[in-house]
């Protein structure tokens, strides 16, 4: 009895030692040399692995930072400037601050503004729908409403509004990682700068059709009339391919264009409500 126990313990111990040696040798043989700073950088990253920086994940981003030693081309949109400062400290280099951004949906083709002309009956994915045809409304440029952007968002910052059939961005949750921008097959979503209190002015339409055609498809389409460009005192608005675009780096939020737009395609959001509404 005692001998059995002793033998058992002895064999198991021996086995343990042998295996430990094997494991050590294997680990030593297949050891991959990696810059230890990659680990250090990874530690200060948010760890969301969202891919918003354009890399496959946080580790890939850390690797990219270490390899290029260039923080102008590597930016973590989730962690923002705070994180980038920490990364810079780890690597011992300088970093410039970037303005905070937010995703903006540039289509206002709600069911009311843009009536349906046919019914889509395939898989509810914008990519599948876009590959098939121009969409179930008269506008071949607008939102397809299947929510690929919602599915792409890792932060729960986009949801479909059931009344309008359009996605809405929660600007507090949005990290401007750009996943939705890449997911949208119609390129409707754009990252724009996050002004104080979230105020911004933008053209909520990307329809490149001629004015009459665009207007027929959607009540609130940009018809490319150019009135906004004329009235803009800062030269921030350009009209190309029958659609206006407001350069957010030049826009000073004066809202002159908003009043000028004949179709109401230019939106001004998050401005304080004036007590005496001007008529």
């Amino acid at each position: 009895m005692t001998t059995t126990i002793i033998w058992t313990i002895a064999i198991l111990t021996l086995l343990g030692v042998v295996l430990a040696v094997v494991l050590y040798l294997v680990a030593a043989k297949f050891r991959v040399e990696e810059d230890s700073r990659i680990d250090d950088v990874e530690k200060v990253l948010p760890g969301a692995n969202c891919g918003g920086c354009g890399n496959a994940g946080c580790r890939a981003f850390a690797k990219s930072c270490v390899e290029t030693m260039d923080l102008d081309r590597n930016f973590c949109p989730v962690g923002g400037n705070g994180t980038m400062k920490k990364v810079a400290a780890v690597l011992g280099i300088e970093v410039r601050e970037k303005a905070p951004m937010v995703a903006v949906v540039r289509c206002n083709g709600s069911c009311e503004n843009r009536p349906k002309v046919n019914d889509y009956g395939g898989y509810a994915s914008c990519r599948v729908k876009a590959a098939l045809y121009s969409g179930d409304t008269g506008c071949p440029f607008g939102c397809l409403g299947c929510g690929d952007c919602v599915a792409a968002c890792q932060f729960g910052a986009i949801r479909m509004n059931p009344d309008t059939g359009l996605p809405e961005v929660d600007q507090d949750k949005c990290t401007a990682c750009g996943a939705c921008v890449r997911a949208c097959p119609k390129n409707i979503i754009e990252l724009r700068n996050k002004c104080p209190r979230g105020m911004r002015v933008f053209v909520s339409c990307v329809n490149k059709d001629k004015g009459a055609v665009a207007r027929k498809a959607c009540k609130v389409a940009c018809i490319g009339c150019g009135k906004c460009a004329k009235v803009c005192p800062h030269g921030a608005i350009t009209v190309e391919d029958n659609v206006a675009y407001i350069d957010f780096t030049k826009c000073k939020l004066c809202k002159k264009c908003v009043a000028e737009c004949p179709t109401g395609a230019i939106h001004a959001v998050n401005f304080p409500v004036l007590k005496n509404k001007e008529e």
């Binding site: 349906k116 046919n118 019914d119 889509y120 395939g122 599948v128 590959a131 098939l132 179930d136």
Partner: protein, 319 residues
């Protein structure tokens, strides 16, 4: 004018659905169910009722209140599990044992993996094997039970496989193959009648619910393997026809090994799967401590399905 419907091709679709396939399996099980009710009477009706109702109810409760999803009971898969579980139990089983089996089958084997389509093991078999291990005496209590036809004694006593395990070939030499075709001398409800199961098999094939490759490869493996052993020593090993007609081989090979979710995708994979089940079953029967091994064989092979799916694939065009 109405708005046109637009969707990607193809624009037509087969009429079958998950529910219709599962319903066909239930229909194919009906002959076996009827035979078992005829022979085991009210007790069998009770077992079937408890098993089916508890399986369906459990699936409903778990999907609605635990997983907070839409209920999936309308796809009939819980009914199939319920019927199969009932057919795998002795007619003497008390109601609470059936309930425990249903809880293990649906709650553990099916829903913890994510419901229909996600489970690795056949739920009814997991339920049965759990009961077999937990309550070995109750699970091998074969009667007497009074049915609607015949007297209770005719269907009482040990199963043929049990007899063979205990007393060797001599103990079963008096059994008639015709009896086995119509009804066994003992065993769980689903083991009673080979004819009833084969009718179900033909129905499933005719309705194109299953393909025959898995079932046939099990039969052939059992027949060939037991044939070789029997030829080698007929005084020790039971003969191949006996091995095909007794025990759970038929029920298992037609209804449980062919379970979509837990069987391989490719034809070659299915054949390998079937051979594995046949071999393991016969090894347990001849050399194991249990008289019957179909349930274990299927569960063991279930666990190899992901590997089989990787290793055995259909030939691709032009490759």
């Amino acid at each position: 004018m109405n708005r046109l419907l637009v969707s990607p091709a193809p624009h037509l679709h087969v009429r079958t659905s998950t529910a219709s396939l599962m319903r066909d399996v239930v229909i194919a099980l009906l002959p076996t169910v009827i035979v078992s009710i005829l022979f085991y009477g009210w007790r069998e009706i009770m077992i079937l009722a408890v098993s089916v109702v508890s399986c369906v109810l459990l699936e409903y409760l778990i999907t609605r209140f635990l997983l907070k999803r839409e209920s999936t009971v309308s796809d009939w898969s819980a009914v199939v599990t319920g019927v199969l579980l009932a057919l795998n139990l002795p007619a003497t089983s008390p109601w609470w044992m059936v309930l425990v089996g249903a809880i293990v089958a649906i709650g553990v084997a099916k829903m913890t993996f994510g419901g229909l389509g996600q489970n690795l093991f056949n739920p009814a078999l997991v339920g049965r094997v759990f009961l077999l291990i937990s309550f070995p005496v109750a699970m091998t209590n074969w009667g007497p039970v009074q049915g609607f036809v015949g007297n209770a004694d005719a269907v009482t006593g040990a199963t043929p496989l049990g007899l063979a395990k205990e007393g060797g070939v001599a103990a079963v030499s008096s059994l008639d193959y015709l009896d086995m075709l119509y009804m066994n001398i003992g065993g769980s409800a689903g083991e009673l009648s080979a004819i009833a199961i084969i009718i179900g098999f033909i129905y499933l094939l005719a309705r194109k619910v299953i393909r025959p490759h898995i079932t046939l490869s099990i039969w052939i493996t059992v027949f060939v393997f037991s044939g070789i052993m029997w030829l080698a020593d007929p005084s020790v090993y039971t003969d191949p026809v006996f091995n095909l007609l007794t025990g759970g081989i038929l029920l298992g090979s037609v209804f449980m090994a062919t379970d979509y979710v837990t069987s391989p995708m490719s034809t070659a994979g299915g054949i390998v799967f079937g051979i594995g089940i046949g071999l393991i079953t016969m090894l347990i029967r001849y050399f194991g401590s249990y008289p019957e091994g179909v349930s274990f064989a299927i569960l063991i092979m279930n666990s190899t399905v992901p590997l089989i799916n990787k290793a055995f694939r259909n030939k691709k065009y032009g490759r």
